[in-house]
């Protein structure tokens, strides 16, 4: 596409140059040829003039010996003239020769004729009578060859006195042949030179326009590609999408995909921009390598990539392709010695599907992608029928800022229940957004947008303040619960965060040991050293820390946590899965031997609760007891004392169970996604 666009104007420019240079060259050629022809004729005249001068001085003047023609010629003078001119006239060196007085009388004529001479009133004769020389080429006729006619004064004596007029006709053909040969040679040389010049100019033009073409092509390429990854940029993507949509209108099926990397900001923040750039390059390479040739991969900016997949097969095939791409993208990357797994959300939108513009397509893919960011599937397909749950990140950020000002956020709490006593010791704060239009929003619907912006700081501050205020309220109401707050990875990437917490504790009048901060293991993924420093500083304040995670427990080596949370994924099939049971049991043992309490998250059934009791788990939370609610409801459900006692019993006493659970840390957005679907 780019090459075709670049070549055509370049060739046109070249043709224009060539044509334009042809004009002056033609003009030069015309003028010079005219000049050569003119000077050829001039050469002939000069030859005639020179010959006549010689004849006049060497033949006529000596024969006349100063005689004045107006007085007539003596016999002796006439005889001398005859003998001087006879041979030249006979041999044709001179065609005709006449001597005339100033009054026009022919005093001497080569053939004795007294007619056929120029008239006395002829300008040529008048000029000669006045002392001038008139030279003219007389074109040949059938009966007479071409001649140079010279009419000039006769100056017969040394004193320079003109005494009459000489009229002489000299054969022109020999002169003409010579001058024409000279002219032809000159014109040939000129033609060769001009053709050479033209060829040279054409070569320069070609060279210049080619350089221009290449320059333009390079420039166009640069303006349409992302310098970091070499992928097409937003503009080129938009063209590709326009083309695809145009083909889509003619019935071709295809898909437009938006891809957003998860946690890219953290990579940039913790490993630096250099690592971020490298990560983007890896992503770009993997994306383009995993696609077909017709597909277009573009980097739209930041960590946002996009693809156009024209001539797609069935939707199923497209989804399979994208899943494969996502899988290949997720392979481990080593960045500055840190091993990372790239996760990305794919928003897919098929066309034509009623899309009018590329903007429509992008918006659809965008909303699908945001669903994907928070749903269990990495590849989300936009369904025109589904309610428009996803909204654009920027809108969300703007609204969230306003929500903080207008106090539209609320905190819900989920109790942690001591398994052996059934007592609530701690409640975990979970943020909710009472959106004026969209209703009550769960963290996954707005937290990623907050984490991707500077909003995360005011949001964390708001949550801490509100939690401290609520803690004060329930303490006043006689409830002895500590409060747990989830931290974002971005909180752990900022050293001054510990100071901020200390300051907020002071302002809220809360003892540090009443606060419990929870972090996920993924928070350590990007700069574990910095995260460890922040956690250490927080622990030093006297705040107790917990770590939640489904993978390794390496962080336990260096940092003293007071609590380990067991992810719900281990609990889902717990009673029936021997392996899960073994893992959970070991984690409990491990945590206990490190002096940590163990809290199981997402307990939904009495079976699981019972098993956890026997396994020695300390605490649990989940829908079995209570879904996240305002603290007053927690208070109502559990009262001042133990509302529900779970007794560890080998017999599995049936207990009412909630169907679903919510157990993920709030702020980091890992709440149970199924809850929203």
């Amino acid at each position: 596409m780019t090459s075709r666009r670049g070549r055509t104007p370049g060739s046109r420019l070249f043709a224009l140059y060539v044509l334009a240079s042809l004009i002056p060259i033609s003009v030069i050629g015309f003028v010079l040829v005219r000049g050569y022809n003119d000077s050829g004729v001039e050469f002939g005249r000069d030859q005639g003039r020179a010959q006549a001068a010689v004849i006049e001085r060497m033949v006529v003047a000596p024969a006349l010996r100063g005689a004045d023609l107006s007085a007539g010629l003596s016999v002796a003078e006439r005889d001398r003239l005859r003998s001087a001119t006879d041979l030249a006239i006979f041999k044709g060196s001179v065609s005709h020769l006449r001597l005339r007085s100033f009054t026009g009388t022919i005093e001497f004529s080569d053939d004795g004729s007294v007619t056929g001479s120029v008239s006395v009133s002829d300008p040529a004769f008048l000029a000669a009578a006045a002392g001038g020389v008139d030279v003219r080429i007389i074109e040949g006729r059938q009966d007479a060859p071409a001649n140079v006619r010279v009419i000039q004064p006769v100056i017969a004596a040394a004193n320079g006195h003109a005494t009459g007029v000489l009229e002489v006709y000299l054969p022109y053909d020999a002169i003409a042949t010579k001058s024409e040969a000279g002219t032809r040679l000159a014109i040939t040389r000129l033609a060769i030179s001009l053709i050479g010049l033209f060829a040279f100019l054409a070569l320069i033009s070609w060279w210049t326009t080619r350089a221009l073409r290449q320059n333009a092509a390079t420039h166009e390429y640069d303006s349409l590609h992302d310098p970091l990854t070499g992928l097409p940029n937003r503009e080129l993507f938009r063209r590709a999408a326009e083309d695809a949509l145009a083909r889509g209108r003619r019935g071709e099926q295809g898909a437009l995909v938006l891809i957003d990397l998860d946690h890219f900001k953290e990579v940039n923040d913790t490993l630096g921009h250099h690592a971020g750039d490298k990560l983007l390059q890896v992503v770009g390479r993997r994306l383009s390598e995993s696609l077909r040739t017709d597909d277009t991969v573009a980097r739209l900016g930041g960590d946002e990539f996009a693809m156009v997949l024209p001539r797609g097969g069935s939707r199923q095939e497209t989804v399979e392709l994208l899943n494969r791409v996502r899988h290949e993208l997720g392979e481990e990357v080593l960045l500055d010695g840190v091993s990372l797994n790239i996760e990305a959300s794919f928003g897919v939108c098929f066309y034509p599907d009623g899309a009018e513009t590329v903007e429509d397509l992008l918006q659809h893919a965008d909303s699908a992608m945001y669903q994907g960011k928070h749903g269990p599937e990495g590849v989300v397909i936009y369904e025109p029928a589904t309610p428009h749950q996803g909204t654009h990140a920027l809108t969300t950020q703007r609204e969230l800022r306003a929500a903080l000002d207008r106090d539209e956020l609320v905190l819900h709490y989920q109790p942690k229940v001591e398994l052996d006593t059934g007592r609530v010791t701690c409640v975990e704060a979970l943020v909710r957004w009472q959106h004026p239009r969209r209703g009550l929003l769960h963290p996954w619907q707005f937290l990623p947008q907050a984490e991707g912006s500077a909003l995360i700081d005011p949001l964390t501050t708001w949550v801490l303040k509100r939690a401290f205020a609520d803690h004060k309220a329930w303490t006043a109401a006689g409830h002895d619960w500590t409060v747990a707050v989830n931290l974002s990875v971005r909180n752990l990437a900022s050293l001054p965060f510990a100071d901020k917490v200390r300051q907020l504790l002071q302002e809220g009048g809360l003892r540090p040991d009443r606060l419990h901060l929870e972090v996920t293991e993924t928070a350590y993924a990007f700069d574990s050293e910095l995260a460890a420093q922040v956690v250490g500083a927080l622990a030093a304040l006297g705040v107790s820390m917990s770590i939640a995670g489904s993978t390794g427990l390496s962080q336990l080596r260096t940092i003293s946590f007071s609590e380990v949370k067991i992810d719900r994924t281990f609990l889902a099939d717990l009673p029936g899965n021997e392996r899960d049971r073994a893992i959970v049991r070991s984690v409990i043992d491990l945590a206990h031997s490190l002096g940590c309490r163990v809290t199981a998250v997402g307990v939904e059934s009495q079976d699981v609760a019972d098993w956890l009791v026997t396994a020695g788990c300390d605490q649990a939370q989940g829908y079995l007891w209570l879904r996240p609610s305002p603290w007053t409801e927690v208070a109502a459900a559990f009262g001042a004392a133990t509302a529900k006692t779970v007794v560890a019993a080998p017999s599995e006493a049936p207990t009412p169970t909630a169907r679903t659970t919510e157990h993920a840390p709030a702020q980091t957005g890992h709440e149970d996604r199924r809850a929203s679907r």
Binding site: A130, G131, G132, P153, I155, A157, A158, N159, G160, H161, A162, T163
Partner: protein
């Protein structure tokens, strides 16, 4: 040439001056006045009244000249017009006298007879006023010049003075003072006299010299200087030496029986001298070195 003995005059300064001014004259048209406000001679009724009745009737003063003596008088390249310092002086004189001056080419030896016969009113042809001539006609003297020897460039005959001409061929114009000078010089040659070839025009004598049929030509200084400086002739001729022989005065020839005409001519020349036209004309032809300060009659002493 009034004296029988040769009168030598060193003319180096004269030569230098003329040579320096003659070169540019060859390039530029000699009729271009050098300075801005050209002086003008005014018509003089009293002088006009002195002209002979036939002249007044005709309104034309017939003046003869032999036009082969550049820059004094010669044919223009057209072969018809006569130009030079003397034609210009004649024209200016006519302006003062209120008549048209018609200059015709006349053989040198015919000038005096034609004036005495009344075929010409005046002769104005670089003719030196000599005692012999002034016996026949009156001369109104207006210019000073002497004779020099012109030889081929390179001076192949090694001529340095008149005495070197003995035994050699010299071309002379018939009827000139140079002819007389050569005749007078014969007595110094002994047994090897100068072979003098005589021609009707000065141009003819120069042809002889150019074609080596003569080793020298005697010319008045202005003509000789012009000859050796003009680009057409300078490669053929040079001066044999810087010596000027028998300096004399050029005179306008007037018939003895025309004293009123003579006085009118003298008056007209005096007017030209007074008004600066005289000096202007001589400068125009680069012969101002021969200028006189006073117009005299028959002052051939």
């Amino acid at each position: 040439m009034n004296r029988p003995t040769s009168h030598h005059l060193r003319i180096a300064g004269y030569l230098f001056l003329v040579a320096a001014t003659a070169i540019p004259a060859a390039c530029a048209s000699p009729t271009t006045p050098a300075s801005s406000p050209a002086p003008k001679a005014s018509f003089d009724q009293a002088l006009h009244d002195r002209l002979p009745q036939p002249v007044k009737n005709r309104g034309v003063l017939r003046v003869g000249t032999e036009a082969s003596y550049a820059p004094m008088e010669s044919f223009a390249p057209d072969g018809r017009t006569i130009i030079g310092a003397e034609p210009d002086l004649g024209t200016e004189m006519g302006r003062v006298l209120g008549v048209h001056v018609q200059i015709t080419d006349t053989e040198f030896t015919d000038l005096v007879p034609k004036v005495t016969d009344g075929d010409l009113d005046l002769a104005l042809s670089a003719m030196t006023d000599t005692p012999e001539r002034s016996k026949i006609t009156d001369f109104v003297d207006y210019f000073s010049a002497g004779t020099t020897i012109v030889v081929q460039r390179g001076n192949p005959a090694g001529v340095t003075g008149i005495s070197d001409l003995c035994g050699k061929v010299v071309a002379a114009q018939r009827g000139t003072t140079q002819e007389d000078l050569l005749a007078r010089s014969q007595k110094n040659c002994g047994t090897k006299p100068i072979v003098v070839k005589k021609f009707p025009t000065n141009a003819d004598t120069l042809v002889e010299l150019r074609t080596a049929r003569a080793v020298a030509v005697l010319n008045d200084l202005p003509a000789a200087v012009f000859l050796v400086n003009d680009p057409h002739t300078s490669s053929s001729y040079q001066l044999a030496s810087t010596t000027q022989y028998e300096p004399g005065l050029y005179g306008i020839v007037v018939a003895k029986g025309q004293p009123r005409l003579r006085d009118a001519v003298q008056g007209a020349l005096e007017e030209l001298l007074r008004s600066g036209v005289y000096a202007n004309v001589l400068s125009r032809w680069h012969v101002q070195a021969g200028a006189v300060t006073k117009i005299t009659v028959n002052s051939n002493q």
